[in-house]
Every structure is written in structure tokens, then in C-alpha cells.
Amino acid sequence: MPIKTARDALNEAMFHEFARDPNVFAIGEDIAGGRGGSSGDIGCVGGIFGVTKGLVAEFGEERVIDTPISESAIVGAAAGAALSGMRPVAEIMFADFFGVCLDQVMNQVAKFRYMFGGKTKCPLVIRCNTGAGYSAAAQHSQTMYQMMTAIPGLKVVVPSNAYDAKGLLISAIQDDDPVLFFEHKLLYQSECEVPDEAYAIPFGEAAMPREGEHCTVVAFGQMVNVAAQAIDSLAAEGITCDLIDPRTTSPLDEETILESVEATGRLVVVDESPPRCGLTADIAGMVADKGFSSLRAPIKQVTAPHSPVPFAAELEAAYLPKAQDVAAAIRETLK
């Protein structure tokens, strides 16, 4: 199978869905690029991380819509179009910018179907980049998906590798509910085998990239890779773990987590969001109820600290959970 970056895998997913369904269109800032520029080279950008590259050349200017810097209007436009029978894929450049359009996401898109008595649907996808690791500082490095998971009516996808990214984006675009799709900045360059054809990965089904017996590790997005590294490093100590990548945080595959904890009796949850009201607590709390009888050790959460993301590379590196932190937490549960 060909090796591809997640950027290319996501790009392929867009091409597949644009070709399949004429109601699919993309809208966002610089997703084509070059409109109104002096070179006239429309399509020169394809989104700041290149995910929508080439779409405008293939599918035309009507379906790849660059916008002013108006995130509320971008999400609103996607929302209104989705209510009107289209399938928009909106791009919000950085997840942090949900700050300027949360109302449309939380109070409009997420609630239409419910408020309107189930008599309509709003099939849209909002893609964005997420997370730290680029020294992009406090306003361009947040995860945000934990806050979005708290909002009923939204589905939330956090892929950890190129293969999943493609299959999950295809599912997202085909889904009849609103989907938020979080692409980690460090994901784009990560590579793995990705088929050329279209395939859909269902929501609410976790992947298990490692299997083991001593501890269950649940990690999200980029942290799946960090956790995998930690787990691999522990092999030398004779410690093996289940590593669960939920892939979607809403819906959440509780079953896979609970089954694993039943077998291992131990749980470490890893996420790069700050600790309060986040996904690590969410999983820990769920297991402390439904999986309590299996638990043989305290549930450990490995997160960023309760602080904004610092700018300096050294500080940012210190801020982010590392494989050694995850390994230490796993060892803790085995004490």
C-alpha cells in the first residue's frame, strides 16, 4: 500500500467526496487562495496546511469558496446551506478560533435538530487544526475538542494517523449530523500506509494500536503516538498495555475501554489539553463508575498543566505530555 502523509490522505478524502456528491462544497479562509491577488493564481494555497489543495482546479470556484475573516459567517453560511440541502465542509483555520464563532457552533448548528423537534438535519463538517507543537503560542495551540465534546448535538473526531484521518473524514462528510473534525498540527506530516480508494471508518469505534495485559492506556489524537512510544519503551521492563485510540470522542466507544480495563484492571488516560473538565477526566470518571469493580489501582491522567500554552520551544516542550510522563503513569498504576 502507498505511504502517504495525513495531509495527502485528508486531501484525497476531500477529492473522493467532492467527486461522489455534487452537494459537497468547501468554505473557509484561503482554502483556495489567491482570489483578489495580483498574480491571479487562484488555488495557489489550498488551506494553510494544504488539505484543500487542488480542489478548486478540479471542481471549480463555486465549490471551493474563499471567505473574508469572518468565522461566525463561515459557520453560519455552512449551517444555512446544510439546512438547505447542501453538505458543506467548512474550515476554521485554528481550533482556537472557535472563540469567535462558538455561538454558531454551539447554539445553532448543534441544536437545530433538537430545537426543531427532529424535523430537520444539518449535515456539515467543520475542519480545523488543533494542538501545540509549533510554538504558535497561547492563541494558536489549544485543543478545543474537549470543550466541543461537552456540547450535545455535535460529533467530534480526533484522528491520530493518516489512515484514520482519511477514513474518518469520509465518514464525517457522509454523516447526517454536524461533525467537528480536529486535525493535529503534527498530524499533517505524519505518514503511514493509506489506500488510494475511498473508505469510511465508522464513528464510535475505537482502534487499539497496541495490545497488552498490564494496563489500559486511552489517548487522544497526537497523544496516541506519544503513548505508543511510552508503551513500546516499557516492553523492556516486561510491561505490556492495551492502547486505545477512541478516534471519535463523541460518540465515544465506552465498551472497548471498559472491556480492556476489565482485563488489565488499570487505566491511564492521556491528552494534551489542560486537566480540568477534559477528556481524561471524562474517561476516568466513566470508568470509576462503570468499570469500578475491575480497577486495581488509581486511574492516572496525563495532561498538559492548567496553563495556557507557552510560546518558547523549550517551554512548549515542557508543557506537552511526553512519552516518559506516560510511562511513569503506567508504572504508577503497577506499583
Partner: protein, 323 residues
């Protein structure tokens, strides 16, 4: 003087009257404490909603506001179901999930009342974008008050509509107040229609107490947008007859403000005078409409009072299509 057919005139009157009686009756019923939540009555401004919506078909869309009953009825919403919704019945427009602030009939082009001031205009841009992409000759409208013209999302929507050149009409209803604050204060005394003009959109102004004035302004705006020239604006002024919401003591209003409005600027009176002066209709026809409307509203209330209510099982229904 007007190119409306008799049938169209009667329908316009019927809808204005239906809104009026819907609201007057709600005002009475709410005082009895039977209806929960925040209810914002539209009475007084009927000519705006109807003058605009008479130009629309079910294929055109509107996005409404917290003060949405008028817009929804003008767009043809099922009045019996609306009343049930406001009473909280599972037989209501939204199965009792939405209430007054979220009445919607998407298949009829009513993309929802909206509890967030400024929430609607961006959504309307999306509906208009769908029109443009589908090339189906439809248009989309959003309503917004003087207050909503101060919300950033409204400006973003205007600029986005201009940038994408979509068939979107912004209906600005200046009723003089946002909650308990005068419109002139909120905008520093500056004309709010000028904002829309500054984006290069044509603004068609109307007297919001005069159906014909609104109808004409809306006609120009909607024609402009429908033929592909981009977004446009209808700006209409007329005050509401009731408080911001039911329960509002209205201490910010001069004592006789509403009384004077009702006497001098009532859209139903104005309509009757006009059609009779211009010999467009026999007033007896309108009297008959009045009777029908009153009967309809009476029925709607009787039905709503006994309509079924939801239970725990309904609460978690319809959050998602599948999950």
C-alpha cells in the same frame, strides 16, 4: 396603485390579522401563568413580516429572531401547531422542544426563530449560498432588529453576502428598542441603515405600519437579489405594541406611546383605509376574515390546552440522527 390581486390582498390581510390575534391572545393567556418561558410578541409590526413574505414561496427561506411568531405566520407556518408548541405540546411545531423562540418549519423555508440576537443573519447567508449553488432562483431572508444590528455576526453576514454575491435580503426592523434601551442610544444616534449601505448593498426603506410601503420596498429588494445582483436590504420602522417580552413593565416607554401608536399607526387600520379609499376590496370581506381568524385562534388555544405533553423518553430523542 398596486398590482396585488384581490386574493393576494385578502391573504396579506389574513396573515396580518392572524399574527395580531395570535399575539393579543397570547398576551392574555400568558398573564394566566399557563405558558412557560420567554415570549416576545410581534404585534404592531405585522406589516413588515407580511409585506416581505408575500413575495416568497415555500422554496425561499427566512431566518427569524426571538420575536418570531409574525415572521413564521407570514411565511405560512401552521398556526395550530405553533400554538401547541408555545404551550409545550409534543404535537407542536417542534414537538415541544423549541417553544416560542425556536419555531421552525424547514421544509416550508422557515429556518427557525432564533434566541440569539444576530444568530440568524449568518445562517441566512448560508441558505442564500445554497440558492446560488443550486441555481434554483430562490432567495433567503433574515430578519433582525435595531438591536441585532449591533451584533458583530450581523456585520459579518452582510459583508459575506456581498463578497459571495448571494441572493440574500436583510430585513432590518427598527422598532425603536432593544429590550429596555432606545435604538438611538445603542447606535450613538447614527442611522443604522447606513451600515448596510456601507457594504454597497441597496437599501429600500419602508414605513413598517403600512403593508403597501413594505410590500413595495421588499419587492425591489427581492427582485434585485433574485435576479442575481447580490444581497439587498429592507429597512422598516414600526414599534411593538407590547413589552420586550411578556412580563416587561415597560418603564422605559412614555405612558401613551403605545396608545398613540395603536390609534395612529396601526397596520390593520391602515390597510383597511387604503383598500377602502382605493376601492380595492369590500371591507365586508375583511370582516369575514376577522371572524375566521378569531375562530382559528380560539381553536388553536383550545387544542393547545389539551394537547399531549412529553415525557422523559422524549428528552433525549432527536439530539442526533444516529449516535
Amino acid at each position: 396603485m398596486t398590482n396585488l390581486t384581490e386574493q393576494q390582498l385578502v391573504q396579506a390581510y389574513r396573515r396580518m390579522k392572524t399574527i395580531r390575534e395570535f399575539e393579543e391572545r397570547l398576551h392574555i393567556e400568558i398573564a394566566t401563568g399557563q405558558i412557560a418561558g420567554f415570549t416576545h410578541l410581534y404585534a404592531g409590526q405585522e406589516a413588515i413580516a407580511v409585506g416581505v413574505c408575500e413575495h416568497l414561496s415555500d422554496a425561499d427561506s427566512i431566518v427569524s429572531t426571538h420575536r418570531g411568531h409574525g415572521h413564521c405566520i407570514a411565511k405560512g407556518a401552521d398556526v395550530l401547531k405553533m400554538m401547541k408548541e408555545i404551550w409545550g405540546s409534543t404535537e407542536g411545531t417542534c414537538n415541544g422542544k423549541g417553544g416560542s423562540m425556536h419555531i421552525a418549519e424547514v421544509e416550508r423555508g422557515i429556518l427557525g426563530a432564533n434566541g440569539i440576537v444576530g444568530g440568524g443573519p449568518p445562517i441566512g447567508v448560508g441558505a442564500a449560498l445554497a440558492s446560488k449553488l443550486k441555481k434554483n432562483n430562490t432567495v433567503a431572508l433574515s430578519f433582525g432588529g435595531d438591536g441585532s444590528s449591533n451584533q458583530g455576526t450581523t456585520f459579518e453576514a452582510m459583508n459575506m453576502a456581498v463578497c459571495l454575491k448571494v441572493p440574500k435580503i436583510f430585513v432590518m426592523e427598527n422598532n425603536g428598542y432593544s429590550e429596555n434601551t432606545g435604538a438611538s442610544y445603542s447606535s450613538g444616534g447614527i442611522d443604522i441603515a447606513a451600515r448596510a449601505e456601507s457594504f454597497g448593498m441597496p437599501v429600500f426603506k419602508a414605513d413598517g405600519s403600512d403593508f403597501f410601503s413594505v410590500y413595495d420596498a421588499a419587492n425591489k429588494a427581492i427582485e434585485y437579489s433574485r435576479r442575481g445582483d447580490g444581497p439587498s436590504v429592507v429597512y422598516a420602522t414600526m414599534m411593538r405594541y407590547f413589552g420586550h417580552f411578556e412580563g416587561d413593565a415597560q418603564l422605559y416607554r412614555a405612558k401613551d406611546e403605545v396608545k398613540n401608536l395603536r390609534e395612529t399607526s396601526d397596520c390593520l387600520d391602515n390597510f383597511r383605509t387604503r383598500v377602502s379609499d382605493d376601492k380595492l376590496l369590500d371591507l365586508a370581506v375583511l370582516d369575514a376574515v376577522d371572524d375566521e381568524v378569531l375562530a382559528l385562534i380560539e381553536q388553536s388555544v383550545q387544542d393547545a390546552k389539551v394537547a399531549p405533553r412529553g415525557t422523559l423518553a422524549d428528552v433525549t430523542k432527536d439530539v442526533y440522527i444516529n449516535y
